[in-house]
Amino acid sequence: MKRIEAIIQPHKLEDVKEALKAIGVDGMTITEVRGHGRQKGHKEVYRGMEYQVDLLPKVKIEMVIADARKEEVIRTLATAARTGKIGDGKIFVYDVADAIRIRNDDRGDAAL
């Protein structure tokens, strides 16, 4: 099993969700996060006080999938989240040792 962690632009979340649903990925966890990579932040001014804001709002998607689906899911996710500009985000892939469905003790791929 693989855990896919994707950090994307918040306004691309709906597109990504639709695309993943279309290829049959049902489960995911979404978190609102702040961060930056190579993208520069912006300047805010409050009554003449300037603030450099580096951490920008992003959305983090996490999901665990069967090994066989890895390339398909990554391709779908990247296509749906892409605008072609700096700040589109990144995808990280991790190995997962096991998965357990709490309701009935299903293990491994059956628990996904």
């Binding site: 805010e44 001014v45 409050y46 603030y51």
Partner: protein, 440 residues
């Protein structure tokens, strides 16, 4: 027949006279009670929202509490002794104790202050001013003052600075009272000197005495929720109609004139600040627009019952631009931490408004001097000097009074919170609560 008609006619005239007076009292009283409620609304929720949106989220409740608790403490203080010091006849500088515990303040009108409303209405209306004035100062020591010290400070400040200053300008026989026998008649319709200069200048003294917030100005101290501040500013704008138009103490044409001047001043100042900022920094910020609106309301306050609509626009526009430069450039130059710009907006806006009142006051609006010219444009340039004298007195009283009070509070309870309490935020360290609990 003829012998009977005369007393009958006399009685009917007397009845008619009584009915007319009762009708006028009902109308005036309705407006003054409405105005009282409007002015209270300026403190809570108006100022509480305006200020709390500008602080960091860990201090949102503590900042709201500064305004809210004054609605309670000042009220009790007012009932016991405050009204008497401010409005009883006495020396030119403070009143005697004839209204102690509101003795004799009842349904019968006070002919000097409001001949057509119950004395009690006048008393409660003036109380709302006594509440908001110290609340304005709290913007200067936001995010770092102990709650106990703040309560003690506000109580002493009301007693030593506000009540005497209100007496000097509005009390019968007060030193600067223009209509009730003052020695140096100065115009202050609704509190440019009494409310805004005293609070604004005291705010500067507080900011200097307390020192900067930890991490200021290097650490980010962005407003945590400008939405609250916009709502607060809108409530202030509406409430200010009670503040200024209510200061006519009746529901007649003077109230209309003050209402119009207030609205025009606020609008012009909003535009003044917005365009100044747009040209200066490239973007017209929302915080700038609402700050300009408040600056204009402050500046038009002393002038509102004395000037015509277009001078009101001039006063407002000037206040918008001057206060913008004050809180952006001048504050940076001196490096003091007036957290929410109580001085830049109220101290400077109030001073500018009080001086310009001497320029634009006219007998066309409010014939205080019985036909004689009033302001500079009326042909009485000397009035600007009288205004300057009242401004100077407010500055001196605010500086000296506030310094003494801060020194007392520092010695008795200590002014500033512990360093770890300031880092944790006043909501948790002072009140044991948080403003935003997302888990529940």
């Amino acid at each position: 027949m003829a012998q009977n008609a005369a007393p009958d006619l006399e009685k009917r005239l007397a009845d008619l006279d009584k009915a007319t007076k009762a009708a006028q009292m009902a109308g005036d009283n309705a407006w003054m009670l409405t105005s009282s409620a409007l002015v209270l609304m300026m403190t809570g929720p108006g100022l509480a929202l305006f200020y709390s949106g500008l602080v960091r989220r860990k201090n949102v409740l503590g900042t709201m509490m500064h305004s809210f608790i004054l609605m309670a403490t000042t009220t009790v203080l007012w009932a016991v002794i405050g009204y008497s010091i401010a409005f009883a006849e006495g020396t030119p500088f403070f009143g005697d104790l004839r209204y102690l515990f509101l003795h004799g303040v009842g349904a019968a009108p006070n002919l000097d202050y409001g001949p057509t409303i119950p004395h009690q209405t006048y008393m409660i209306y003036q109380l709302m001013f006594a509440i908001i004035t110290p609340a304005l100062i709290s913007g200067a020591f936001a995010e770092r003052m102990k709650f106990s010290a703040m309560l003690l400070f506000m109580t002493l400040w009301s007693l030593i600075v506000y009540f005497p200053m209100a007496h000097m300008v509005w009390g019968k026989g007060g030193f600067f009272n223009a209509s009730l026998g003052g020695r140096i008649p100065a115009f202050d319709f609704a509190g440019g000197t009494v409310v805004h200069i005293t609070s604004g200048v005291s705010a500067l003294v507080c900011a200097l005495y307390l020192g900067k917030r930890l991490g200021y100005p290097n650490e980010g101290m962005r407003p945590h929720n400008l939405v609250l501040s916009v709502v607060g500013a809108c409530l202030l704008w509406v409430g200010w109609f009670g503040f200024n138009a209510g200061s006519a103490v009746n529901a007649g044409s003077l109230a209309s004139s003050a209402f119009v001047a207030t609205h025009f001043g606020a609008a012009a100042a909003t535009l003044g600040w917005m365009f100044a900022e747009w040209i200066h920094s490239g973007k017209p910020s929302v915080l700038g627009a609402i700050s300009g609106c408040v600056a204009g309301l402050v500046a038009i306050t002393p002038a509102s019952g004395f000037v015509q609509p277009f001078p009101a626009i001039v006063i407002g526009a000037a206040a918008g631009v001057v206060c913008f430069l004050m809180v952006t450039s001048v504050k940076k130059l001196f490096g003091y931490d007036d957290s929410l710009d109580a001085f830049g907006v109220h101290g400077i806006g109030g001073t500018l408004g009080a001086l310009l009142t001497g320029v634009f006051a006219t007998k066309e609006v409010n014939d205080v001097f019985s036909g004689k010219p009033m302001g500079w444009i009326d042909g009485n340039p000397g009035q600007v000097l009288n205004q300057a004298a009242a401004v100077a007195m407010s500055w001196v009283l605010a500086i000296v009074g506030t310094l003494v009070i801060l020194w007392i509070c520092d010695a008795v309870v200590g002014l500033r919170v512990q360093e770890q309490d300031e880092i944790q935020g006043l909501d948790l360290s002072m009140h044991g609560e948080e403003g935003y609990n997302f888990e529940s």
